[in-house]
């Protein structure tokens, strides 16, 4: 029995959510790497720029009232150690350009080295301005040094960092996703075990679930066990009730019937005897109906949850024929059993199949005339076929398909006690086993052939 609308898989939800989290973390991770690394790269460039500018500022000196500068070689080369970036510098004394690129913009800032990024000669420039006071003939002179560098090296570093960050982020994501699969699998394992433990049980196993249960599932399993407990109780109670009811009804019926038989024997007047016979028949009919209704309910119940096992079809037929032989003999009906030499095995519910076969044979005996024959034949080709061929009155003009409908009887059986459920029960059982009940009128001679067809195991 499958649930119609499962509301998604917990495992999939877990994986998807963990995957999303991993993706989110990967992106955050990537952004963090970029921000930190680019900050570090910028800081590095700034530091070198500041060092360069400072060393230039330190190289400024005064010579007989003149401010002079011997541009330190290292001040410029330190900027080009890593990258092939363009370098610009400018040295000002009291705002007047002393040397360098006199159109170079001055980054603004109050204290310490002032940094700025701006466009210069067609490219982005990172520049630093360092200020130094120089005393020239007791006059304070302000020396400003600006050193700028294009950012190609930085952007190369940045793109390398980006590539690495993407790679790391992707690897992180993949690893995290794989781990989340694993985690989901792991987390679901107790649930799977529990589900298997429950699914493995037979339909009638209503014992409490004792499989190892994770804490979170304890309420569910508790509920399940409680439910099964109640179900078990309810089933026991209703079984008891049915048993009790059957007992309570059948015993008085038996009493009435037996008393009626006794009285019937002692009566002389034909009309009284006839009335009593009617009564006995009514008793028979009601008890038979009750029995078949119970059988049918049982068949319907068991069909939902088949307890299948391997069954020898020959043994099954022999058993039922043996059981009904005395009934058949009462009417001098010869039941012949025709079994193939090789074993024929079907998969099925033994009780249901026995019930079906008994109902078909019982039906055949019931509707067969005295001194007639019933052939029970087992054949196996691609299917297991159990044929019951009688020499009864057949099914008349009734629609054969209709015969198996509940309470339907042949149109010509008014004088035979029966509830009409026999073939319905057999048909239900056959269908539950993936088979069918075939009803045909005999081609030669009177009677009908009812065949219970079942798949071979």
């Amino acid at each position: 029995m499958k649930l119609r609308n499962p509301t998604g898989s917990i495992r999939r939800r877990l994986v998807v959510q963990l995957g999303l989290i991993a993706a989110l973390l990967s992106v955050a991770f990537f952004l963090a790497i970029r921000v930190v690394a680019e900050g570090a790269a910028t800081d590095t460039q700034d530091n070198i720029l500041a060092a360069s500018a400072t060393s230039i500022a330190e190289a400024v000196y005064s010579d007989s009232g003149e401010v002079r500068l011997e541009l330190p070689y290292s001040a410029i080369t330190m900027l080009s150690t890593v990258s092939e970036d363009r370098v610009f510098y400018r040295v000002l004394v009291d705002g007047e350009t002393l040397t360098g690129y006199d159109d170079l913009t001055l980054p603004q800032g109050r204290r310490g080295p002032a940094f700025g990024t701006f466009e210069y000669r067609g490219e982005d420039l990172r520049a630093v301005r360092v200020t130094r006071m120089l005393s020239v003939q007791d006059q304070p002179r302000q020396v400003e040094v600006v050193v700028g560098q294009t950012r190609l090296g930085l952007s190369a570093i940045s793109s390398r960092i980006t590539t690495n960050a993407v790679a790391i982020g992707t690897v992180f994501f993949l690893v995290a996703t794989a781990l989340s699969f694993f985690a989901a699998q792991n987390a679901m394992q107790p649930l799977d075990h529990l589900a298997q433990a429950v699914a493995r049980r037979g339909p009638n196993d209503l014992r409490p679930v004792t499989a190892a249960t994770p804490t979170e599932l304890v309420p569910l399993v508790g509920g399940l066990n409680g439910f099964m407990g109640r179900l078990r109780q309810a089933l026991t109670r209703s079984e008891d009730l049915i048993t009790e009811a059957a007992h309570r009804v059948r015993t008085p019926l038996a009493t009435v019937r037996t008393q009626a038989e006794v009285i019937h024997r002692q009566m002389k007047h034909p009309s009284n005897k006839k009335a009593l016979r009617e009564m006995i028949r009514a008793v028979d009919e009601s008890s038979r109906s009750a029995g078949q209704l119970l059988d049918h309910a049982m068949v319907t119940f068991r069909s939902d949850q088949l307890e299948t096992q391997s069954i020898s079809a020959a043994d099954l037929l022999r058993d039922v024929v043996d059981r009904l032989q005395p009934t058949a003999e009462l009417k001098d009906i010869q039941v012949t059993l025709d079994l193939p030499p090789e074993p024929v095995t079907v998969q099925g519910d033994a009780i249901l199949l026995q019930n079906a076969v008994r109902n078909v044979l019982d039906n055949a005996i019931k509707y067969s005339p005295v001194d007639s024959d019933i052939a029970v034949r087992l054949e196996a080709d691609t299917q297991c076929r159990m044929a019951f061929i009688d020499q009864g009155r057949g099914f008349g003009q009734a629609d054969l398909a209709q015969l198996t409908a509940r309470f339907s009887r042949g149109s010509n059986v008014d004088d035979v006690v029966g509830s009409g459920l026999g073939l319905t029960i057999a048909d239900d059982v056959a269908r539950a086993h993936g088979g069918a009940l075939e009803i045909t009128s005999n081609t030669e001679g009177p009677g009908a052939c009812v065949t219970l067809v079942l798949p071979l195991s």
């Binding site: 541009l71 410029i76 092939e84």
Partner: protein, 342 residues
């Protein structure tokens, strides 16, 4: 400042509208020329011609205009006057770097340029194609009985101990005039502790100052000079056959290696052809024939253990330092005062 050995053949050809002082100019037409490559170069026509012809045989549709000017003129024309050339070839590395650093060069990249060693390119704008060591050129006659110096200290010692032999017979670049000379001198000042000592010694010996390597070599050959310091080895090599009296001495304390480089100016019109020429130049190492004809040693990957004294001058903003107005002033003042002690 007495004797400026200005080139005698210096011809002032005013070809360009911008009144650029060209020393030489030659056209290399092509049959059915589809494009023109105009080169402004510091290398003499005779030196570079084999390369142009070889280039044209590989690129038949390209007519080449080859103009020669001093490196200072090249810089002035491109930097200040904005003259239009498709390619600037110069031995003045510092000026080439300045062109690129200050945004007057175009970027170019190709598989050929990417194969160049790291030290031979800068910023995808400056591409070195030769590595030319500076050497000492001596007159064999003058050194018949004198040990040949192989280091600067040995040279100083020699000049010092034999002033009578060398007075007026020592030549070097006039760094105030020659861009290459300035470059070599500034690199010397960085690399050698006794550069200033050497300058002073040369000043005391009334060193002759030259604008160009060619004249210096000729003067050594004809006996006017006994020693020429900081001569471009490639020139000397090319003159060796014609001037059997000279000898080339490579110092073993260190050798400045100049990189002749190519830059595509922002004013270039035939950028595709410029690129083709740069690729051709970058592949010079595969043409030993051209190296032999021109005497220009192509850029080759250096193995670290090979000639550790050879130091290629590093392409990069460091070269800007000595171009700094004030630094140059200071340097030239010191140099001049050392050179002209009287």
């Amino acid at each position: 400042m007495r004797h400026f050995g200005f080139a005698a053949f210096l011809s002032l050809l005013a070809v360009n509208a911008n009144a650029l002082e060209l020393e030489e100019s030659r056209n290399y037409p092509a049959e059915a020329a589809s494009s023109e490559l105009r080169i402004l170069s510091t290398a003499d026509v005779e030196v570079f011609e084999p390369i142009i012809l070889a280039f044209q045989s590989e690129n038949p549709g390209v007519a080449v205009q080859y103009d020669v000017a001093s490196s200072a003129q090249v810089m002035r024309g491109l930097y200040e006057e904005g003259v239009s050339y498709d390619l600037a070839l110069s031995s003045a590395m510092d000026l080439q770097i300045k062109l690129a650093n200050d945004g007057l060069a175009q970027s170019y990249s190709s598989p050929a340029t990417q194969r160049l060693p790291d030290w031979a390119t800068w910023h995808d704008q400056v591409f070195a194609f030769t590595q030319e060591p500076t050497v000492l050129v001596i007159s064999k006659a003058a050194f018949q009985n004198t040990p040949v110096p192989h280091s600067r200290s040995a040279l100083i010692e020699l000049l010092r101990t034999r002033p009578e032999t060398f007075d007026g017979k020592v030549g070097t670049y006039d760094v105030r005039v020659s861009g290459a000379g300035y470059l070599f001198a500034t690199q010397d000042s960085r690399n050698s502790e006794n550069f200033w000592q050497l300058t002073e010694v040369m000043g005391r010996l009334n060193a002759r100052l030259y604008c160009c390597s060619g004249q210096m070599i000729r003067d050594v050959a004809d006996g006017t000079l006994a020693v020429a310091y900081n001569v471009l080895g490639s020139y000397a090599q090319s003159q060796l056959a014609d001037n059997p009296g000279i000898e080339i001495v490579e110092m073993d304390d260190y050798v400045s290696v100049m990189l002749r480089s190519a830059v595509i100016p922002v004013t270039a019109r035939s950028v595709t052809e410029s690129g083709a020429m740069i690729d051709f130049l970058a592949g010079l190492s595969t043409r030993p024939d051209l190296a032999a004809q021109t005497g220009l040693p192509p850029v080759e990957k250096l193995r670290p253990d090979e000639a550790p004294e050879r130091r290629p001058i590093r392409l990069g903003p460091g070269l800007l330092v000595f171009l700094d107005k004030m630094r140059r002033e200071t340097f030239l003042r010191s140099w001049t005062s050392s050179m002209e002690q009287r």
